[in-house]
């Protein structure tokens, strides 16, 4: 275990550069996430949000820098680091031949837990997955696939939950339930959450931190007090993000 990692720190990203074919898409990323943090990851299309999340979840190798999840270095102790997070898989990557229950059993068997070992709540019931759980994922709509992906990511109560635009396809009730689950996880003080989203207006009400990626770098960073302040005035945070995006687009 890295002695420099504070026990409260769930994710430590230091000087991370990552990309494809040797070309960096994100570079110089420094990010630290503590238990209780809900980080909103913002940015225009192609700004590097998904690339950053792929590097953090070990899907692409870092060109430089390090990723440490729950005290385990992703490069040298990949399996231990991967125990530390649950990623909501992109709906198009789900195993469509399996039923929702079989998929949960698959993920549960890897994480060493039961198919319904969720942190505190019955996620399948809360997200309205029950009628679909024994049908093949191929039959699911985009929203139902997103629900099963979130339910699988929460299995075994991993300290870090990562949602890459997973809230986009959800119906209002399911989105509301997911937000309640996320808030409950963070308030328990044992978990942290990263949400990559384009729904800027939902960030102040849900997240206590936010970063804006532009051209593969962190262009803005909002701390809890700043977000809370912005959240009090309707549209203020949105306007701030849009201003930052416009400035980036003009500079670019």
């Amino acid at each position: 275990m890295d002695s420099s990692v504070h026990p409260a720190e769930i994710l430590a990203v230091r000087g991370l550069s990552a990309g494809y074919g040797g070309r960096a898409v994100v570079s110089g990323i420094d990010l630290s996430l503590n238990r209780g943090d809900i980080l909103g990851l913002l940015g225009a299309n192609g700004s590097g949000k998904s690339t950053l999340l792929k590097a953090i979840t070990g899907q692409i190798p870092p060109l430089s820098g390090s990723v440490n999840v729950n005290g385990a270095d992703l490069a040298s102790a990949a399996e231990r680091a991967k125990f530390g997070f649950g990623l909501a898989i992109d709906p198009s990557d789900l195993p469509v031949a399996l039923t929702g229950r079989q998929y949960l059993q698959l993920v549960g068997s890897i994480r060493g837990c039961a198919e319904d070992d969720w942190p505190g709540v019955n996620v399948a019931e809360r997200l309205g997955l029950k009628p679909w759980i024994d049908r093949a994922i191929a039959h699911y709509s985009l929203g139902t696939r997103a629900k099963i992906a979130i339910a699988a990511a929460l299995l075994g109560a991993p300290p870090l939950l990562i949602l890459d635009e997973s809230l986009n396809g959800l119906d209002p009730l399911a989105a509301f339930e997911v937000k309640r689950i996320i808030l409950a996880l963070a308030s328990s003080g044992r978990h942290a959450v990263i949400i990559s989203t384009h729904v800027v207006e939902s960030v102040p009400g849900l997240c206590n931190r936010a970063v804006l990626l532009a051209d593969g770098r962190i262009a803005r960073d909002w701390q809890p007090w700043h977000l809370a302040e912005a959240g009090q005035m309707p549209g203020a945070f949105e306007a701030e993000v849009m201003r930052a995006l416009t400035v980036q687009a003009t500079d670019g």
Partner: protein
């Protein structure tokens, strides 16, 4: 029709995109290494042909049946594969919403199959013509032309058959998925529950883990069963272990090759999970290996019963079955989304190793082992780093 070259364009763009996404260093390795290997292979074949020129020139069964049959068969296989490839692009999900009729899609696939088939036919003609020239066979260009006609005939026959019988796979796929066989429990359940659970059902694409009987599956099972029974009977009647032991080995390897699927290794579901490559690989190989061993047991048992004193033969067959299955599992993990390419590469490597070991002895087997280790390393690296 404006878009009749659409499938051809799509197929052309795929390798181009692949080449563009590669590093220059890797491209240089592939280009230089591949060219050197190709040049060596051509030189080796030319030397071998010249050495056996006199025999080959007068081997009339080869020129009357062997070569024409092989050309027809290869042409048929190539036509079938190319037509499948072109049809898969003509019915690609992202083209589903475009106002293209079934006839138009078939025509797009036919144009692409034709455009890709012509260079292949020319290549076959040039190869056979060159081969005849090397062994000093009279009328080498005529043999080349004849080879092109035979290969082209096989190619056209299967390609046209496949293109004409094509139905909309998108619609067929959806209707197959819509059939919910609910009610009965998954047949594979007891065999596929070890962690990670349902991995083989996923790899085989079994809807909800249930095996659905098809003519292809029943036909293959009957064929394999028949061959095992015939070989076992021959061994028992002649008191000779060889036929049954050979069928046990080759049948076992074929069962493994036909049933091993490793595409889940490329999925983020496994790659982002706390699951190492070796564990995922072993789990994916587990059920195919059980099937392979189950097939092996009947003829191997018959070989042992037929000639108990030759007990070493079925034992050696079992050992080689494990070795070859393990080697193929590495090839299949490397070519995880293309089992046909994996099988072709594996058989090619085995054939080439056998051929070279005739000349250089068993040291060539070390080269094969090194290739397997290299593919293992690359597959593991890709699983870890994408």
């Amino acid at each position: 029709m404006r878009h009749e070259r659409l499938v051809l364009t799509l197929l052309w763009r795929e390798p181009l995109a692949g080449l563009r996404s590669m590093r220059r260093r890797d491209l240089a390795w592939i280009g230089l290494g591949g060219s050197a290997l190709f040049a060596y292979a051509v030189a080796d074949i030319v030397v071998a042909l010249q050495a056996g020129a006199a025999t080959l020139r007068h081997a009339w069964p080869l020129w009357t049946f062997g070569l024409p049959g092989a050309l027809l068969g290869l042409g048929g296989l190539a036509g079938n594969l190319l037509a499948r490839l072109c049809l898969s692009r003509a019915f690609a999900p992202f083209l589903k919403a475009l106002p293209l009729s079934l006839v138009q899609r078939r025509r797009m696939a036919a144009v692409a199959a034709c455009a890709l088939g012509i260079p292949i036919v020319v290549l076959v003609a040039a190869t056979i013509g060159f081969g005849c020239f090397v062994i000093a066979k009279p009328l080498a260009p005529v043999w080349g032309l004849g080879a092109a006609i035979l290969f082209g005939a096989g190619f056209c026959a299967t390609a046209v058959l496949h293109l004409r019988s094509a139905r909309d796979p998108v619609r067929i796929g959806n209707s197959e998925l819509a059939r919910d066989p609910g009610g009965h429990r998954p047949l594979l359940g007891p065999f596929d529950r070890a962690a990670p659970a349902w991995l083989s059902s996923w790899a085989w694409g079994l809807p909800a883990g249930r095996v659905t009987l098809s003519w292809r599956l029943v036909g293959a099972a009957m064929l394999f069963g028949l061959v095992a029974v015939v070989a076992a009977s021959i061994s028992l009647v002649r008191h000779d272990a060889v036929p049954a032991a050979m069928v046990a080995l080759t049948g076992g390897v074929l069962v493994f090759m036909l049933s091993a699927r490793f595409h889940p290794l490329g999925s983020p579901v496994l790659r982002t999970a706390p699951l190492g490559f070796a564990r995922a690989w072993l789990r994916l190989a587990r059920l195919p290996l059980q099937l392979s061993v189950a097939y092996f047991l009947l003829p191997a048992g018959a070989a042992l019963a037929a000639e108990p004193s030759a007990w070493a033969m079925p034992l050696a067959s079992g050992f080689w079955l494990m070795v070859l299955n393990g080697a193929y599992a590495v090839f299949a993990a490397y070519f995880m989304t293309a089992p046909f390419v994996a099988a072709l590469s594996f058989l090619g490597a085995i054939a080439y190793t056998s051929y070279e070991s005739l000349e250089y002895g068993r040291t060539v087997v070390i080269g094969f082992a090194a290739l397997v280790l290299f593919l293992w390393y690359r597959a593991q690296r890709r699983y870890r780093h994408g």
